[in-house]
Amino acid sequence: MFRRSKEVRSDGEFEQLAASVAPELYGMALRLTHHPEDAHDLLQTTLLRAYEKFHQFQLGSDFRAWTFKILLSIFYNQYKKNRLAPKTISLEYLLSQEGGGWEPVSLDDSPEERFMQEQMEEPIEKALVALPAEYRLAVLLVDVQGFSYEEAAEILKVPVGTVRSRLFRGRTQLRTLLHEYARTRGYLQEGESR
């Protein structure tokens, strides 16, 4: 779907491609920034940068992977310097909070805010937040976004072996975190594996 042919590139073509990848980019941006407005800004900056560099986009390569690479590059170069860097929070800390979970601070009730709130209530989302950033990105790119190891390596600018390693550790830790969460909620008995 995202493979580009050799036809002349136009603004309409770009807008069509942008519309097809925007929801996935926005989902990723939300998980990176944890804030709808910041995620929207990140999405806009990413797509605008993609538009500006559209002439550099290699024919035959994956537009989706290319835009994800831009998104992560912008996030780490620009957003990480500010307050938007994702924070790794231990599950113990999250569970120790009142109510047993993390309630994201929200000043309004926009659909995006509500989505974030609802999403963050999910144990898997909490576990993802608790993962170290590099493991989380590998897991998100491969297991959630469906990129291959090679594509994830290209997006993250690391060797494939590193992706493989981070993926293994990320998945293992994720499973442990989910089990701990289930145990604290009483879904699992002490010593029970499932």
Binding site: E15, P23, E24, G27, H40, Q44, L48, E52, R164, R194
Partner: protein, 266 residues
């Protein structure tokens, strides 16, 4: 992990990325190794749990409109940049054309100046009033009387008495194109019926309007008005210019005149 199966390979096994033969080898290994089996189970659980994480989230309403606005701004900026680049290229081209025109139409460069020759030619071209061979107060006065011309606002030059009442000098240092030299300006003072007339051989000047007396020193020339071309003779009466002697004297002549005056009127 105690067995020799790399842990990362299990991830690839779970993702079915391995070669079919390797997949079969791992499956066989899992049937024997409970530790790896548990690890694979953990990985599969994690993968299953991640299936419920939404892959795409609809962006906020109006995101496309905002993007189009930003793209339109980029296009406007590119258009401006293209226009600026075009203008810059045109300016550079014009400059190059102008420079080429200048080079092609420039006259041949003049021969290098020989300053000494120029000065010598200039000095020789001057019609200096010759100082009399024999300088004494009488002959000098006679010579001066012939050189005097009416000054500004004067109709007739005064008749100088035969002998000046005072012969003196003003010492000065002159630094100019001809080099620095020490000199003294001769000064003659005559008593005429209309008052005293002071005659100075002042270093050459071109603009008499700027020649102002300096009462403190009694010097009637302005240092700023020195020229390198010679010395002019001017006459002053009671602090104002009354006559001008036409012509200028070379500094060497002035020195010679001063020396002769001193000899004649010690």
């Amino acid at each position: 992990m105690k067995c020799d199966i790399g842990s990362e390979v299990l991830s690839e096994y779970v993702d079915k990325r391995l070669h079919p033969e390797e997949q079969a080898q791992i499956e066989f290994h899992l049937s024997e190794c409970s530790e790896c089996r548990e690890a694979v189970q953990a990985l599969q659980e994690a993968k299953r749990a991640l299936l419920c994480v939404p892959r795409a989230v609809p962006p906020p309403i109006g995101w496309q409109w905002r993007l189009q606005e930003a793209i339109a701004e980029v296009q406007r900026r590119r258009k401006r940049q293209r226009f600026l680049n075009l203008g810059l290229a045109a300016a550079v081209m014009l400059f190059l054309v102008f420079q080429a025109y200048r080079v092609l139409t420039a006259p041949a460069p003049p021969p290098p100046l020989n300053v000494e020759v120029l000065i010598a030619d200039f000095l020789h071209a001057q019609a200096w009033p010759r100082v009399p061979e024999k300088v004494d107060p009488y002959s000098l006065t006679n010579w001066l009387q012939h050189q005097i011309r009416p000054g500004p606002g004067q109709s007739e030059p005064p008749i100088l008495p035969p002998v000046p009442i005072q012969v003196g000098e003003i010492r000065f240092h002159h630094a100019g194109l001809l080099g620095a030299f020490k000199c003294s300006i001769p000064r003659l003072v005559y008593q005429t019926p209309s008052g005293r007339v002071n005659l100075y051989w002042v270093p050459g000047f071109w603009n008499l309007d700027h020649l102002v007396p300096a009462p403190a020193s009694g010097c009637s020339y302005h240092p700023r008005l020195y020229t390198e071309s010679g010395v002019s003779l001017v006459a002053w009466q009671q602090g104002s210019l009354v006559w001008v002697l036409v012509g200028r004297m070379a500094p060497s002549d002035l020195v010679q005149l001063g020396t002769r005056l001193h000899q004649a009127c010690p």
